[in-house]
Amino acid sequence: MSEKTTQKVTLAKALNMGLRKAMEDDAKVLLMGEDVGKLGGVFRITDGLQKDFGEDRVIDSPLAESGIVGTAVGMALRGYKPVVEIQFDGFVYPAYDQIVCQVAKMCFRSQGKTPLPIVIRIPFGGGIGAVEHHSESPEAQFAHTPGLKVVACSNPIDGYWMIQQAIAAPDPVVFLEPKRQYHADKAELDDTATPAPLFTSRVVKQGTDVTVLAYGPTVKTALKAAEAAGNEGRSLEVIDLRTLSPLDMGPVLESVRKTGRVVVSHEAHVNLGMGAELAARITEECFYSLEAPVLRVGGFDTPYPPARIEEEWLPDLDRVLDAVDRTLDF
């Protein structure tokens, strides 16, 4: 319908455009959260939307995350499609009960009679020099919870499409946005393209020696690592997982059967992070293809550190390359 127009957009802008598109397409889509209205969200992801869609559809909420998610449940039961914004990853926990016991279970409890098409947007991850609770990576906890679907975008193009797909999905989706990337890079967005399905992973760089699995903020790190490794004659294949629950193991297993070596990288704590599940599944499926154990590079098993040492704490290029070396030397 619309003519092909491309423009260079940041992730923040792409998400904003995706939300706008979803609201135009479906009058049942509502946005709710703290400061999402006049201010357009502390990251400006909802910028201008209240002005254009009104206060009934872009709702500034009282300062209470359980209330936000809990009322979203009610609105979804009434036939709406609420998209709630959690201001920062670390503030999702007051809503944890509603997410885990209500959002995740309503479809099951009602034997499919009342599915809940809610999207819970969470800016996640670190690297922005913030104070405590503003740099968390809570994904594993949601992925561990049946009934939720969990996805993470890593770039503007995916941001634009994935947010729309998440909103259109009939199930609750925890939608993770790498906040450090919001304004980092621009990409050419063609809004007439056909996006890949939401719950799929994608090989973002082909390679032959080691498979690097990443999502959200670590995709960029992984790509940089691949480039650096390439300069040293090592060929890394990088997969952007995109979906954390369900996992799309197809491309992962295919890659591992080829390379025999895997490094998983995420900002979340290593212990019981996504890397643990990926390691367990890969080892189960590719036992005889693996040349080395799956190595995990992630946040240490400590609370997120003060900002001045976050870059050391976070899994960066060097730590990914170090793991690549270790798996090759194994």
Binding site: A72, G74, M75, C101, R109, S110, P170, L247
Partner: protein, 393 residues
Amino acid sequence: MTQPGFGPDLAEVFGPAHEATSDSAGLSLVQLLTPEGERVEHPDFSFGDDLSDAELAETVRGFFRDMTLTRRIDVEATALQRHGELGIWAQLLGQEAAQVGAGRALKPQDYVFPTYREHGVAWCKGVDPLKLLGLFRGVDQGGWDPRENNFGLYTIVIGAQTLHATGYAMGMQRDGVVGTGDPDRDAAVIAHFGDGASSQGDVNESFIFAASYNAPVVFFCQNNQWAISEPIERQSRIPLYQRALGFGFPGVRVDGNDVLASYAVTKAALQRAREGQGPTLVEAYTYRMGAHTTTDDPTRYRLSDDVERWKLKDPIARVEAYLKRNGMADQEFFDAVSAEAEDLGHHLREGCKALPDPQPLSVFDHVYAEMTDELVTQRDGFAAYLESFEGAH
């Protein structure tokens, strides 16, 4: 003692903390029918003024029937639990008037968010009581379709449903079914919860959201004096209905053992909501005559004296007395209700035993509206595993 600047001693404002054992819940209690079955007037709430004598009698007979059948559901389910047919049962004994009063005040377009004890409200909303048993038998987690009777699934996490109710009411506002003046269109939500639940963050947040958006929701708190073993005094040192004032909307305490008053107050609160005047807290002051659930042993924490005293306030007995004393119902009517109760009991007994166990594989069916491939794989693996036993068994 007055406390300068902090206003008068709270006890002066609110009266002494009410006692679960006291015979009166204080002057502020709305009552229209005494425990003895006598009609009393209240300056603000009335019952039956707009009805002819015949209509009034019919309505009260209806309440009697509802309460009697509700009690029968409860008695029957309790017995089914004793016989091992249910895993557990949450009894409502003593709370029939609060629930039937609230339930009958609802219009079809109103929506209910219950706890796990709202069997009487379910009854009024037309949910087949047999469907209530599935959860307690352990064959499902709520066997009815919430959309069919506008009656949500039972919620077990204390207080969670009050936020759902508020959000649902916000949806109604967006649907334009609030304050239109069309009585068949305007709608409201009722959120049920207990005295214990009033302490949960979620319940208080629901007050905040409802007040902030002026949402059409009636918060209906059955203060049955107990949260398992904890008396109401642990949760609040003032009468619960006054909580609402702190959030900027009205609260009212009604005699929850008086079906006429429960009906009248809830009806007025729902009407306010439907008209767009926002939330109300109704505290139905009642008593949990039974155990918390069939697994509870209340003798460990409360005196049987209290229970005895509350027996005198039985919600059904007083309506029966009222009907009889005023010749509003004949023996034929009472016999008919008894017979109906017998039938209902039979329906529940036979139906309960016939409730099929779910298939183990069904657990995968509705985790998602769109099943995931990995869950399909898991289900198929489990199916193959189960089949491997087929021969063996």
